[in-house]
Structures are given as C-alpha cells and as structure tokens.
Amino acid sequence: MTEIFGKPLPVIMGQLLIGLINGSFYALLSLGLAVIFGLLNIINFTHGAQYMMGAFAAYFLLNKLGLNYWWALVLAPLAVGATGVVIERLMLSRLYKLDHLYGLLLTFGIALVIQGAFRHEFGSAGLPYSIPALLEGGQNLGFMFLPNYRAWVIFASLVVCLGTWFVIERTKLGAYLRAATENPAMVQAFGINVPRMITLTYGFGVALAGLAGVMAAPIYQVNPLMGADTIIVVFAVVVIGGMGSIMGAVVTGFGLGVIEGLTKVFYPEASNTVIFVIMAIVLMIRPQGLFGSR
C-alpha cells in the first residue's frame, strides 16, 4: 500500500476529505462574518446560533411542512436571513455610533438567548436529518471512497464562496459595498440608501450562516449547540485570514480545514489546537491577518 511519511494513503486522503468538509463550513461561516464585519464593523457573535438555526429550519421544513432538502437550501437561509434583518433593524442599528464592544456584547447575548431557548425546547441530544436521496451513495476513487453528499458540500461551498467574492470584487453592487465600507457618508451623499444596504448586508451574512447550517444538517446532527462549538474555530479562521477580507476568509477557511485534517494523521494530539497555534503565530508576525490590509 502507498505510504506518505509512514502513513497509508487512504488514511491521509480520508482526513484530507474531512478537512475539506470542515474547511467548507469554516469558509462559509467566516465569509459571512467577513462580509458583516467589513460593512458593519461588528463582530457577529450570533453567527454560530444562526448556523444552528439554519439546520433547525431544514429539520422543521422537512418534518412539519414536508419540504425536502432542496427546498430547505433556499428557504432556510431566507428565513434565517430575515431574522437577521429584524435583529439589525431593531437592535444593531442603534449601536453603530458606540464602541464596537457593544455590538460584540449584544450579538453574544443574542446567541446565548437563542441557544438557550433551543436547548430548553429540544434538549441537547440532537435530531437526525438524512442525506437527500439524490446524493446518497458515493464514488470509489480507487485510493478512497468519496461519499456523494460530502463532494456536494465541498462543491456547493466553493461555488457560494467564489460567487460572493465575484459579486463583491467585480460588480457595481460590490463597488457600492466596498465604497460604503470605507466612507458610508460619502456613498450616501451620492444618493445610495446606505442604512438599507447595511441591513441587507447583515441579512445576507446571516443567510450564509443559515445555508451552512442546512448543508451541515445531514453530516452533523441538528443540535442546539452545534454552532457554539464551530464558531470558536471560525473566529480563529477570521483572525488568521484578516478581519473583513473576503478572499482571506475563503482561502483560510479551506486551508485551515485541511491543515486540521492532516494534523489528525500526523500528530493527532495537536489536531484540536493547531488552528489556535497558527492564530497565535499569525498574530505575532502579521497582526492584521494573512490577507488583511491594516
């Protein structure tokens, strides 16, 4: 059997795949955080709870309304994004003139409330959600078995990430967004409704978390605390990539997922801490993050 540094190839490939899957979620979640931070200057601590809400939304759509995974992929992000719009309009929008810390505290508080309410209602055992029929089974690649659903998650995440990057960096809408990130007052003086743009941007970032939640539902269990665990790593990803950098979030998300996976092969004891070690090193050498500009 082929070996690399004394480890069998299928083991390495297996962990590489898990790394890419985790990386897909890191990328989607840190992308949403980056988009929100860029324009609102708020670190959205509710992100993990909103990811969890996406998974629950998929569960309810299936079990209460009989709408399958593909419906959930569209409807759950819309529903979760709508809750984001309400949060921004009712609460966040009152904090922009204050120190960033208030936004952080508010979103952290909201996350605790949401997670507490879900745990009270559904316990923490986790609810099952099965893989959609179309994506059951897998491909035998010779050196490893690739489940179709996992391939789909990686593909879909890449498409969403690159699509978002394209819109922000290459379109007129993205130019408004970039300009408003720099100087919202001036963009408004050109006649653009910046407060509305901020609301929709927050809604979009939150919807990305909801989408990640739907995609996660068949892989991880639908669990009120599923976001609380993931989001800590995602914050590390955002810090490493550079706050507010879109490409940074995407590249670092996938990259760190892979590094985490490979660490499991070569030095399993460090697999849970490797991302934080990298974060510490990056903060020492390049505090603005790998892709950050300031």
């Binding site: 007129k172 130019a175 408004y176 970039r178 300009a179 990130t181 720099e182 100087n183 007052a185 001036m186 963009v187 408004q188 003086a189 050109f190 006649g191 653009i192 409704n193 910046v194 407060p195």
Partner: protein
C-alpha cells in the same frame, strides 16, 4: 431666474457644538456662487448641511422648491446635487474607473464618460489604476469632481477644490469651472483661494462666525476689496 437653492435661518450642530447660527443664502440656476471666509467660519458646514451630513439641522433648505431639511442624505442627492468634499473622499478599494462610475444617476442629462475624459485627460490615462488613492493630489481632485458630472446632478457643491494643488492644476480647474458654467451647471464654490474664485463667481457671500456677513455681486468686487481684506485677513 429660478432658485435652485434657498437656505433660510439655517442652524447646524455637530454633537454639542453649534456651528451655524442662522445662515441665509440663495443660489439661482446657472450661477457660480462663492462662499468666502476664514477657516472655521462655517462654509464647509453649510455645504454639509445641504447634504444632510451634519449631526442636527434646523431652519429651512429649499432645493428646487422642496423642503429638504428633514430628509435623509441619500434622498437629498436624488434632487440632483453633486457633492465634492474637501477631503476628496476617493475610495482606495476602488480603481480609478470604478471611482468615476460609482455614483448612480440622480437626474437627466449627465455628461458621458468620454466627454468627462476629454475634460480631464489625465484621468483617461490613469483610468486602469487599481487604487483610486494612488493618483496624485491633483488627479484625485479631478476625479472627485469628474465623478459627480456623469450623474445628471445640475447643482454642484465644490468644497476647497484648489487646496494644496500646484498653480498649473489650479488654472486647469478654473477652466473646468468655466466650461461647466457654460454647460448650465449651477455651482457653489467654497474657496480659500480668492484669486481663483474672483474671476469665476457671479456672486459672493462672506461668512463669519457661522453667519453670512456680507453678500455682493461680482460687479461690486472692486469696491469690496478693502472689506474682504478685513474679513479674510489676506
């Protein structure tokens, strides 16, 4: 002559500080009106107040007959006002061309991009520059003016456009103002550089302590020279 802008009893505040204390001024269609005054006399704040960019405003600001004093900034812009701020506000994350094309149309009959590049040939040469802020100061100033010309805005508020620029660029900007006036733009200039403004303006307002201290047409400029020396300390 139709009034494009009529400001009456305008008061404005930044937080606790009261900056404008009852400004009254009128700008008619097709005029170039210059606000003179020392630093801190309230000229920039007057322009910002028109755009709704100060903390709090009271009084009346009629733009083409509509009361805009309680409107949000983006709505005011859609009455056809192009604003060029003192700090130029060129966006670093946008290329030169993206900066130029950024402002959306707010009215009919804006200038075409080619026409704008003819007016500012430097910008045509440098349109592919990836970062708007990589331009020289003069080029950034031209870009800040150029971008509001294609929106269809017919009232231009230009704040200190000659500040810190070489004489040859100041002259070029003077020729641009003349061309814009010929095209029918209405222009409010806030200027420190009296020699730049003198041959361009139809009327002058002199501001002091957040109020209009003096108002006179270009024809009376000669008689007012001594007075201006006192107000401006030049």
């Amino acid at each position: 002559m139709a009034e494009v802008l009529r400001i009456s009893h305008l008061n404005a505040w930044y937080g606790e500080s009261h900056i404008l204390h009852g400004v009254d001024l009128v700008v008619n269609k097709g005029e170039v009106v210059t606000l003179l005054g020392r630093n801190g006399s309230g000229r920039t704040t007057t322009l910002k107040s028109v755009m709704g960019l100060v903390g709090r405003r009271a009084g009346s600001i009629l733009v083409k007959g509509k009361e805009t004093v309680s409107w949000p900034t983006h709505r005011i812009a859609h009455e056809g006002i192009g604003y060029c701020p003192e700090e130029r506000a060129i966006f670093a994350s946008l290329s030169v061309e993206e900066n130029l094309l950024l402002p959306p149309r707010t009215g009919e009959g804006g200038m075409g991009v080619d026409e704008i590049y003819d007016m500012f040939p430097n910008l045509r040469e440098r349109r592919k520059t990836a970062q708007g802020t990589k331009l020289s100061g003069g080029e950034q100033q031209m870009l800040a003016m150029a971008r509001i010309l294609r929106t269809g805005a017919d009232l231009l508020l230009l704040d200190e456009i000659t500040e810190g620029l070489a004489p040859v660029i100041v002259q070029a900007l003077g020729r641009v103002i003349v061309k814009l006036k010929e095209r029918g733009f209405t222009i409010v200039l806030v200027e420190q550089n009296f020699r730049f403004a003198a041959p361009l303006a139809d009327r002058f307002y002199v501001m002091e302590h957040g109020k209009i201290a003096e108002a006179f047409p270009a024809a009376e400029l000669q008689d007012k020279t001594q007075l201006l020396h006192e107000y401006l300390g030049v």
